[in-house]
Amino acid sequence: MKTLKEERNIGLAFSNEVASRLGGETVTSCYQCGTCASSCPVAKITPLFNPREVIKLVLLGEREEVLSGDAIWLCCSCYNCQERCPQKVEIADVIYTLRNIALMEGYVPDIYSDFASALINHGRLAKVSMFVEKKRSVYGLPLLTATGVEPLRKILSAIGFKELQQKKE
């Protein structure tokens, strides 16, 4: 059995990890009031997601449970919670940060691996098909300008995004 001090250190290690990353900075200000949960459209329709619970697990250091679980992927990114939090916890951003960490650890939902491939391959999430592109002139729409796929790839590789991809595969 862990001592109280050891438990506290486990909690701090994970919340410090989250707080040290872009988007996660405000997580430790949470005092668990539940304004987020009562503002959340997803929490109203499923017991599988509750923003207050996600933050609580982070503060308690339940790293594995948070990163391997379904909950962080069920946020609909509406930002209601973040807008209303009295402690200015940037909850939606904290959840992005948790997703960033989860992906690095290899927890990759299929749809996100599709998003990453589309981004690298086409420079956009939705590809414009040749058929649709040809129809533009029929509609009287101007030709599409070139997409900056090459600069995008350079930016992603400067950040280590490619390595992240390889880790997943």
Binding site: R21, L22, G23, P41, V42, I45, T46, W73, L74, C76, S77, C78, Y79, N80, Q82, E83, E90, A92, D93, Y96, T97, R99, N100, L103, P109, I111, Y112, F115, A116, L119, G123, R124, L125, A126, K127, V128, S129, V132, E133, K135, R136, Y139, G140, L141, P142, L144, T145, A146, T147, G148, V149, P151, L152, K154, I155, L156, A158, I159, F161, L164
Partner: protein, 291 residues
Amino acid sequence: MSSYALFLGCTIPARQPNYELSARKALARLGIELIDLPNMTCCAPPPVQSIDLEASLSVAAYNICLAEEADLNLITLCTGCFESLAMANAVLKADKHLKTKINNVLSHVGKEFEGSKEVKHYLQVLVEDVGLEQIKKTVSKSLSNLKVAAFYGCHALRPSELLRFDDPERPRILDDLIKVLGADSIDYRNKLKCCGGLLRGYSDDLALDLTREKLSNTSEAGADCIVTLCPFCFIALDIGQLQVRSKFNDVYEMPIVHYSELLSLALGTAPKELALEAHKIKIDKIISKIT
């Protein structure tokens, strides 16, 4: 005349010629010039932010750099593009440390974010550059028979501190823009609640629950159509309506209309010029009420 660099994004050219056509036609009529710059790329919306926040900020900043180089402010039609670009713009203008960090990344592609330009959603441009009075004067058709459910979606409004689009709890920009066309902007239950769009692909069941609720609430209030300002809300509610039908056997015939389509129709553009066949739920009912 004001000129903007158009950030077209991916979903609109890939799937919604109706949105692009109506927006280009209406903005041109109202004296807004759109310039299509080359080499724009993904705006880095929530799915990309979910993968890597630093990469998203860098990619968004790269796109803003292109507008800075052309000495133009950016205009978006898509709320997802608006959110990611406007948020990056605001964050990087305010945080020098982060700006330096992102500029280090951008140096690999020979760019430097200055923070000299604005990112605007086209509804803001309509209100701020054209003005409600001018729009009212230009309208040639009567929409007074239409009851419209304004739907703001999430990412134009929030996070409001960064986006500065409208009051996040009591927005009125879309309602005002609907009323100025002569239509009635009606109240309905949970007007500001999410359409569920971003859950599509991860949890279609939960996404459809939210879509269904939106359809139910707007129908109960007697809306003739839902007006959106985002291609994702459009998909969630338009195609989503067919999915709600097959999953729940719950039949709605609620036309989903982009604000720019409603505006174009009010300005007298012929429906056949607007690629309205892109709508899964046909909007003929609306058109027949415009006189």
